[in-house]
């Protein structure tokens, strides 16, 4: 029998931090070929239609960029939380919280000066997501309630709050569908290119990625969060206020996810609806890991998954491969990247028993 054991190796040079995710993507595409082949697809046709669908025409490329903005934000949200080992699996619910509040401002904030409407959407949407994430952080730090479970369950609570609002108080007059009144024009994100859906949200998301990079590397909070994530006891005994660090981390993490919701309402749909997010919050987990929890990595990996999401629709139309291949590839990517990260510190030794 052949067994394997995991042994420490000398840490790899820093350039592997870039090489590994790229290798992970290659391996993911190779493994992802298996379900495509089994479903009777032609690999060349499948991947070329995916590539064409994502990047082939100006329109497709712009759609990929549009889709990248919420994914960058949820990816940043998860990466910022995971860095401090705050297991925020609740980006989806925090996104909904942001979307609900942005809609409320955009529909009912008619008394606000028009110039303040959009800033109010953004700030209050950020706070809504942040507070929704701060609740499990508070429960974790003060009452030792497991953060994985609470952040997950709170997604469902928020979905039902949204359902209640959209079938009740916030439902558009005369509509039988669960959708809100449209938000006023003052709440719309400005577009980047005339006659396209490309909006400033993308620039906003990239600026926020740089801001997170700054927080991570240049501020006390970023340093404390890193320490809490590496060894919470050591951090505590070195005088770091660990509870406060986790709480602040959660607030920012949830806020970023909330902003993803604000963007979907104020730049894409212009009203609130139940399927405002096709799981951006969960994809954010995969993006954060593939980006190695680094903000720049998150931007790149969000772009990659945006390509997969947009491209798989074309692939599905051209080859009959179900669009759900997107989720399959996401799952494979997450697992492959996790294995790849192992190789940063360890190597596998095969042993013959």
């Amino acid at each position: 029998m052949i067994g394997l054991s995991i042994v420490k190796r000398k840490p790899l040079p820093t350039r592997f931090k870039v090489i590994l995710p790229v290798a992970a993507i290659v391996v993911t595409i190779l493994i992802g070929s298996i379900p495509i082949l089994l479903a009777g697809g032609n690999l060349l046709k499948a991947y070329s239609s995916l590539l064409h669908g994502a990047l082939g025409t100006r329109f497709n490329f712009l759609e990929t960029l549009v889709k990248a903005s919420p994914l960058i934000l949820t990816g940043l949200s998860v990466s910022f939380a995971f860095r401090a080992r705050f297991w925020n699996i609740g980006a989806e619910g925090q996104l909904f919280a942001g979307a609900i509040v942005a809609t409320a401002v955009g529909v009912y904030g008619t008394w606000l000066p028009p110039a303040l409407v959009l800033p109010a959407c953004v700030v209050l949407g950020f706070l809504a997501g942040g507070i929704w994430a701060a609740i499990p952080a508070f429960l974790k730090t003060k009452l030792k309630v497991d953060d994985v479970v609470t952040t997950l369950l709170m997604n469902y609570i928020m979905i039902h709050i949204m359902g209640f609002l959209l079938y009740g108080p916030m439902q558009a007059a005369g509509s039988s569908w669960p959708r809100s009144e449209p938000i006023m024009e003052a709440a719309h994100y400005p577009t980047l290119l005339a006659h396209t859906r490309l909006h400033v949200g993308l620039v906003f998301a990239i600026v926020l990625a740089l801001a997170i990079w700054f927080i991570n590397t240049r501020t006390v909070l970023g340093y404390s969060a890193k320490c809490v994530g590496t060894n919470i006891q050591a951090a505590y005994f070195n005088g770091i206020n660990t509870d406060m660090t986790i709480l602040k981390t959660a607030l920012i993490s949830g806020g970023l996810a909330g902003l993803a919701g604000v963007g979907e309402v104020c730049a894409i749909h212009y009203h609130l609806l139940m399927d405002i997010s096709p799981g951006y919050g969960y994809t954010g987990i995969v993006i954060a890991m593939l980006g190695n929890l680094h903000p720049i990595g998150v931007v790149l990996s969000a772009f990659f998954f945006s390509c997969i999401a947009i491209g798989s629709q074309t692939m599905s139309r051209m080859t009959g491969i179900p669009v759900y291949i997107e989720g399959v590839i996401e799952g494979i990517a997450l697992m492959v990247m996790l294995v790849a990260l192992l190789f940063m510190e360890y190597r596998i030794r095969w042993t013959r028993k």
Binding site: P35, V148, L153, M335
Partner: protein, 316 residues
């Protein structure tokens, strides 16, 4: 509809539905308790349940055989659990992230295979589901018979599993090994217990339970596969594991509480009580969080949970 809620028929209806609806959560909770007692948190549960729901349904749709569907769901659950085992036990990777990876992968694959197999017809295909099994004589007992003895065979099996899992964990040699591995893998290794094999074994049993729990949803609870058929029940089972302090009976009582709230909201809707549906749907999740807040400070987490075992790294 009458407004007579307090009638015996209404109450027995709710309680009977409670037991029916808590079955998949109980089964999943039992599986997760075994897994976590062995020291591994399996967040793949939600995806494995969805995969069990899809694979069980498709098998039955193709063959007409319900038990074959359950069997295939269990096998698929074991297969996915073995993938989890390779990542989190053999390679010792983060249990959180491995589990989420399994859930995302298995959910995607379940929907992928379902869509490939049935296409996208206007009306989703259905199977002839399990019928409740009336136990002779006992089911004729007024009131009690309607509640307890007209359930699905899978529900009876799940009840039987509660003492079986308890005895297994607390009264057998293997159960002791499982708990030691989950509590202190180094000590277990010292006395010659194969830590990783034991953990893989726990994951496999858990995976089979998750798969069958999923199949229950598409072959008994409903008769079709819908994308949101699991709808967070896996996460509820994780919560119930903590709520029950890693004890099979307490965990299953928690699952029953969730099932009761679920059944209550459904029944109240059926009799036409005008309540905001979504607020009612929210209550079970909210109560689960509240319940967790209540027990978490006293919870005695298996000490080896989340810690990969690498013999070479004993050091600290």
């Amino acid at each position: 509809m009458t407004t007579d809620f307090i009638s015996p028929a209404f109450i027995s209806g709710i309680l009977s539905a409670t037991l029916r609806m808590s079955t998949p959560i109980m089964l999943a909770t039992l599986g997760e308790i075994i897994t976590e007692r062995g020291g591994v948190l399996n967040l793949g549960i939600e995806g494995i349940m969805l995969f069990g729901a899809a694979s069980g349904f498709l098998t039955t749709l193709a063959t007409g055989n319900l038990w074959l569907g359950v069997f295939v769901a269990a096998l698929c659950g074991i297969a996915l659990a073995m993938l989890m085992s390779f990542l989190a036990v053999t390679l010792g990777l983060s249990q959180h992230v491995s589990g989420l990876g399994i859930t995302i992968f298995a959910s995607g694959l379940a929907m992928f295979i379902y869509r490939k197999a049935v296409g996208s017809p206007m009306i989703p295909p259905t199977v002839k589901p399990f019928t409740p099994l009336s136990i002779p004589y006992l089911s004729h007992i007024p009131f009690v018979g309607d509640i307890f003895f007209k359930q699905y065979l899978l529900t009876y099996i799940t009840w039987a599993l509660i003492p079986i899992v308890s005895i297994f964990l607390f009264r057998t040699r293997i159960g002791l090994r499982v708990r030691t591995v989950g509590q202190n893998p180094f000590a277990a290794d010292t006395v010659g217990v194969n830590v990783n094999l034991t953990r893989a074994f726990c994951l496999a049993i858990g995976g089979a339970f998750f798969g069958v729990a999923g199949a229950f949803l598409t072959l008994a609870h409903q008769n079709m596969f819908l994308i949101d058929v699991v709808g967070g029940r896996g996460w509820i089972a994780i919560a119930m594991t903590i709520f029950g302090n890693w004890n099979p009976l307490s965990g299953c009582l928690g699952a029953m509480m969730f099932g009761f709230l679920d059944a209550l909201q459904l029944r109240l809707q059926i009799v036409g009580v005008k309540l905001p549906t979504h607020l009612f749907l929210m209550i079970p999740y909210l109560m689960t969080v509240v319940a967790l807040v209540g027990v978490s400070r006293k919870a005695t987490v298996p000490a080896g949970l989340l810690k990969p075992y690498r013999r070479e790294e004993k050091g600290g």
